[in-house]
């Protein structure tokens, strides 16, 4: 009984990280990304491969975050020229291309995925017990939450908010929007990569299907559901959307019908998200 519950909890924590990392881009800076799962995947594969090559976990974890940020920068440079909804498409494209590449490369195991990924271990002690891993991931999540709220309240956060509200005005106000946008993407992808690493070493097996568009969209849904721009919201949104399919188990194959209906209903009933505020700048369409 508890093993199952812990398993679900661990998944909730990992997706909370993903949701929060996406919220940094979407909610705080106004950069819409429909390909976030690609960062998740890059982190997972990077970390998995590194440990398979013999690197210790602590190193793999951090390195995979960094590797993911590098890819984030690669994505950022061209996409900064593009606005709003067009940005969404570019990120969508990036996500799809990333998956296709993962599926076709042999080092990544191709479509068969990577098997036998060693579990995480700190100071040589393998973290295979669920309660311990849950605690470990939760502490990383806590670090993430703390750093993010700090950032939000700092000069960086204010710059991001200005960019989100209207980046032309922000530019005129003297804010270097390119720098802040790139910074945002670097941080956002870093955390997504970390989540990927933690995921890979938990499940022991990863394959490209897990990191595709469906997952990207789900992460975005978690952000919106929880409240765009709200830190606790991301965690709640992630938890709800991870928990929902589990609660719907009673319905077997009809889960999809209820899941879809519930999603629509929730958006219609509370468009600002669970923790969101009906603040003009947060939720009303830009420029309308």
């Amino acid at each position: 009984m508890t093993a199952y519950i812990l398993h679900v909890c661990i998944i909730m924590v990992l997706f909370s990280m993903l949701s929060l990392s996406l919220n940094i881009a979407v909610g705080m800076t106004g950069l819409v990304s429909l390909g976030h799962a690609a960062f998740f995947g890059i982190g997972a594969y990077a970390s998995g491969l590194m440990m398979l090559c013999g690197l210790p976990f602590e190193v793999s974890l951090v390195l995979s975050g960094i590797v993911t940020s590098v890819f984030g920068i690669i994505l950022a440079v061209p996409s900064l020229r593009v606005k709003d909804d067009y940005l969404a498409i570019v990120t969508l494209g990036f996500g799809i291309i990333a998956v296709i590449i993962l599926m076709n490369m042999d080092i990544t195991g191709g479509p068969d995925g990577l098997t036998g990924i060693p579990p995480a271990s700190v100071f040589g002690v393998a973290l295979t017990s669920k309660p311990v891993y849950f605690a470990f991931c939760s502490s990383i999540l806590a670090i993430m939450v703390l750093t993010t709220s700090r950032l939000k309240a700092s000069k960086v956060g204010r710059a991001w908010a200005a960019i989100r509200d209207n980046d032309t005005v922000a530019m005129f106000m003297g804010i270097n929007i390119y720098y802040y946008k790139v910074l945002c993407i670097v941080i956002s992808s870093f955390w997504a990569g970390i989540a990927g690493s933690l995921y890979a070493h938990y499940t022991g097996y990863i394959n490209p299907m897990t990191f595709g568009m469906q997952t990207s969209i789900m992460i975005l849904a978690m952000v919106v559901l929880g409240g765009i721009g709200s830190i606790p919201g991301s965690i709640i949104g992630a938890s709800v959307l991870v928990l929902l399919p589990e609660l719907l188990r009673g319905f077997e194959a009809h889960q999809g019908i209820f899941y879809g209906a519930l999603l629509v209903t929730m958006m219609v009933l509370r468009p600002q998200g669970i923790m969101g505020k009906m603040k003009v700048t947060d939720i009303f369409a830009r420029g309308s």
């Binding site: 398993h7 191709g110 995925g113 299907m209 399919p245 009673g250 194959a253 209906a261 929730m266």
Partner: protein
């Protein structure tokens, strides 16, 4: 309007929780099953039927040592993550010791480490990757490994069809890619050269680009490994484009649906399958009758007797194991390892040292007159 919507939301949530916690504590023997019930239901639903037929038979005969057999079904949603979560739920909440499924190699490999750690027997009815053989002591499979299929099919191509050159059009995902690599190797080993090698994605319906490239070469055989939703339209299109070479596929094509979708293009198609419809034993005759009755009364449901046959056999084997040795994983394993000549509808079955099922060789089928007929 909004209030009404709230009522619906709450209602849905309540029914969800009720459905979820509705696990009763009766005196039953619970076994788990992870099948493709939503995406891929074309394969998963017939597999479920196979299990249901077996369970009905077993319970009608008094159950397992007096206790009824109950199978808890979970949906693999074609996702390793969902399969793993389903598996965790089955072993942790329902406390099952044996799971029939998952139905795809990727998902099977995903649950394997967990099964090994927790000592739960996993029998995949149709995961074909060779990696499954080495996935663990508790991992078994109810179908032929893809490389054994490759061996048999390529030999048949050379010996009985006189093939010297082959063009391959494969599905670009784990199954298709694996088949491409594997079959290419076996073809080459027999001196048959692969002159063209193209791929498509799942969900594709237009293969003109790939087929145009293939058409430029000369070949004796067109091999199309993948799932029938794509392989059937592929062969239909190939024929439309004037490609005449005989075709070969893998066991996913062994379904009435393939013939339905491919139409006349299916004629002459050669595959390796797991179940011979015409296998003449009392067990099979009874099974066929029951399955066809279900197909008749459920017109909208996918019809694939092969998947049902495999799960039917596996369920009966599991029930026998529990009946004879008691309900724990090691006992079931011992029973499976020592099983000899089980009277299954898919043949006389036993398991080899890797946990792979052994029948009377690999069955090869060919479409003749719109039906699959066993030729070897």
């Amino acid at each position: 309007m909004k209030r009404f919507a709230w009522v619906i939301l709450v209602g849905l949530l309540i029914s969800a929780v009720v459905g979820f916690t509705g696990c009763t504590k009766e005196k039953v023997i619970k076994v788990g099953a992870i099948l493709r019930l939503s995406t891929g239901a074309s394969d998963g639903l017939p597999a479920k039927r196979g299990i249901e037929i077996a369970v009905d038979e077993i319970n009608a005969a008094g159950g397992i040592n007096g206790k009824p057999l109950k199978v808890i079904y979970e949906d693999s949603k074609d996702s390793p993550q969902a399969s793993v979560t389903a598996f965790e739920k089955l072993i942790s909440m329902d406390k099952v010791k044996v799971v029939i499924g998952p139905m795809m190699s990727g998902n099977t490999l995903a649950v394997a480490p967990i099964a090994e750690r927790n000592h739960v027997v996993v029998i995949t009815p149709n995961g074909t990757s060779p990696k499954i053989s080495n996935a663990g002591k508790y991992i078994y499979r109810g179908c032929t490994r893809i490389d054994k299929q490759a061996e048999a099919l390529t030999k048949y191509a050379k010996d009985k069809m006189g093939v010297k050159t082959v063009a391959i059009l494969y599905s670009n995902e784990p199954y298709g890619k694996g088949c491409n690599k594997l079959f290419s190797k076996y073809f080459n080993d027999l001196g048959i050269s692969v002159v063209a090698d193209e791929s498509f994605m799942r969900g594709d319906r237009d293969f003109s680009a790939q087929l145009t490239k293939i058409k430029q070469k000369k070949f004796d055989l067109l091999f199309i490994p993948g799932y029938l939703q794509e392989t059937a339209p592929a062969i239909a299109q190939a024929r439309k484009m004037g490609i005449d070479a005989p075709s070969m596929g893998v066991f996913g094509d062994m379904a009435p649906k393939y013939i339905e979708l491919a139409g006349n293009a299916a004629e002459g198609h050669v595959i390796a399958g797991e179940y011979d419809f015409d296998y003449n034993t009392p067990v099979n005759r009874r099974f066929k009758e029951k399955y066809m009755a279900i197909v008749k009364s459920h017109k909208n449901e996918p019809n694939n007797i092969m998947f049902a046959a495999i799960t039917y056999d596996m369920t009966r084997i599991v029930a026998d194991a529990i009946k004879n040795r008691g309900y724990n994983a090691e006992a079931i394993r011992d029973y499976l390892d020592s099983l000899k000549d089980f009277d299954g509808v898919t043949g006389r079955l036993s398991f080899d040292k890797n946990g792979d099922v052994v029948k009377q060789g690999v069955y090869i089928f060919k479409v003749e007159g719109g039906k699959y007929v066993k030729v070897e």
